[in-house]
């Protein structure tokens, strides 16, 4: 009757919990062992450059237009000697970026990508505005597949 059903349910319930001690733990010890991310992961930005090291970005400003939070990306345009524009200064304000990937998706020249680095914590706010050479360095880091050295460890 009802009480018997409850007692059986209690025993089955306790056995189900007990059964889990034979399974391998699923937790990951974070700083030592890390989760392997796949290539579509949207982490810190990086400005790509073609084979002879010139930035692909032509400072067209599409990324500024599609970014949901205003004034996250600031670009200073300059006319290069061969008539094409290139960015003299390109900065992304990481405080305002929501990592939605719109800039990467709608950039006509594939000039910006998102690396797999997600450890962006830092002491002062100003270091969270990535200027052009950090973005270039990020790209070269990702090519030789070296993740950013996390200082706090």
């Amino acid at each position: 009757m009802k009480a018997l059903r409850y007692i059986i349910a209690l025993i089955v319930g306790h056995f189900t919990v007990f059964k889990h001690i034979f399974k391998r733990p699923v937790t990951l010890e974070y700083p030592e062992k890390r989760n392997e991310l796949n290539e579509k992961f949207r982490g810190e930005h990086a400005l790509t450059s073609d084979e002879n090291g010139k930035l692909k970005c032509t400072a067209c400003g599409t990324c500024q237009r599609v970014c949901p939070s205003f004034a996250t990306i600031k670009i200073e345009k300059e006319k290069g000697e061969d008539g094409k524009f290139y960015p003299k200064n390109y900065s992304i304000d990481m405080n305002k970026c929501i990592f939605c990937g719109n800039c990467v998706q709608y950039c006509p020249f594939d000039a910006i990508i998102m690396t797999k680095n997600y450890e962006l914590a830092d002491e002062k706010k100003s270091s969270l505005t990535l200027d052009i050479n950090t973005l270039k360095k990020n790209y070269s880091d990702t090519i030789i597949n070296k993740t950013k050295d996390n200082r706090w460890r």
Binding site: Y6, G13, F41, R65
Partner: protein, 370 residues
């Protein structure tokens, strides 16, 4: 104050409380153990989603839409995309529809899993939380592989998707679906017939049929009160009419029925997912939309799109004035009305029942405050 009044104790279950699923504040008036009156105070997580829509283009507003109900990002994204696509008469290929149904049903499963974990934690059982989060972790890593982010996907675009689904990813889903029914059976073994759980949730917080309609309750809470209404069956959108799945329902609308109903819904999600995956593997097709997203101009008009979100019907009203930015966007979400009925359910109920009732309503605060 009358003498009866003076024995009352005002307890403030504040915004920062371990078990209020976000930042809901309940001002309770207690007479000993009995809750006399309860007043929910909301607005602590108000981000002004509707005002934000008025100064952003359609494309800029799309990523912020996932944050309205961050446990059901795909549902809000689909509601907004469906409204804009209907206004701008953008056609969507059948493969996109199947992928949208697939991702939405997986999102419903992960949202129900999180609800089950936190509901059991409120009731005091600690281990189901870790089991449900372990299974939810698998779904989130599958989403991360597909869209690049675990919860803020930004994967839908107007008229299609950002990129196609790979067959490798679909294989991973098939063996995820194979393991999942055993896992759900595990939860049922621990919880469903457990005498303590049953006595704590049976005929507690009963929502009658009339009250459910009066307070415009939708989704699992409505179906638990015996009114079998599911927008996926009643006015089918996307490809739900081609999939066969049935709608679980229950009779007396107490916490226990809401629990059993959501568990049954998890099994239904698995059925739908397996059908979608089977269809997707067979017929490839074009998925990326031909519409130039950044320059999208929506012709004049207004539209309300409804979608069956895990917590009730989520409808999105978009009024466009022909320019690139929406003139007005209004969101209707399920938990908003669940919080409204909470005081009525808590009248003269016991203080420890608060967690049993509130947990079973599956309320998420970003949806309430928008």
């Amino acid at each position: 104050m009358t003498n009866q009044e003076s024995t009352r104790m005002k307890i403030n279950i504040g915004p920062q409380h371990p078990s209020t699923h976000g930042v809901l504040r309940l001002v309770l008036e207690l007479d000993g153990e009995i809750i006399k009156s309860c007043e929910p105070i909301i607005g602590y997580l108000h981000r002004g989603m509707e005002k934000m829509a008025e100064n952003r283009t359609y494309l800029q507003y799309l990523p912020t839409v996932d944050r309205i109900d961050y446990l059901g990002g795909f549902f809000n994204a689909y509601a907004f995309c469906d409204a804009v696509e209907s206004l701008a008469q953008i056609e969507v290929s059948e493969r996109t529809q199947y992928i949208r149904v697939l991702t939405m049903e997986m999102n419903r499963l992960s949202s129900h899993l999180l609800w089950l974990g936190t509901f059991m934690l409120d009731m005091g059982a600690t281990s189901p939380l870790f089991y449900t989060f372990r299974d939810r972790e698998e779904i989130l890593s599958l989403f991360e592989e597909l869209t690049g982010q675990r919860m803020m996907y930004n994967y839908y675009t107007f008229g299609g998707l950002r990129h196609d689904v790979t067959n490798v990813w679909l294989e991973k889903i098939t063996d995820f679906i194979k393991k999942m029914p055993r896992k759900i059976q595990d939860y049922e073994n621990i919880i469903t017939d457990n005498p303590i759980f049953v006595t704590r949730t049976e005929n507690i917080g009963i929502i009658s049929k009339h009250a459910a309609l009066q307070y415009s309750i939708t989704g699992p809470n409505l179906r638990a009160s015996g009114i079998e209404v599911d927008y996926r069956k009643q006015n089918p959108y996307l490809v739900y009419n081609e999939l066969d799945f049935d709608i679980p329902s229950a009779e007396n609308g107490d916490s226990f029925d809401r629990y059993t109903l959501r568990i049954a819904e998890m099994y239904e999600c698995l059925k739908i997912i397996s059908q979608c995956v089977a269809w997707l593997i067979e017929n490839p097709g074009e998925v990326v939309s031909s519409v130039k997203q950044p320059l999208l101009k929506v012709p004049e008009g207004e539209f309300i799109s409804n979608v069956e979100a895990p917590r009730g019907v989520c409808s999105c009203y978009v009024k466009s004035d022909g320019t690139g930015t929406p003139y007005r966007a209004k969101w209707r979400t399920g938990s908003y009305y669940a919080v409204q009925i909470l005081p009525k359910l808590l009248e003269n109920s016991f203080y420890p029942d608060l967690m049993a009732i509130f947990g079973s309503l599956d309320v998420i605060l970003p949806e309430v405050d928008r």
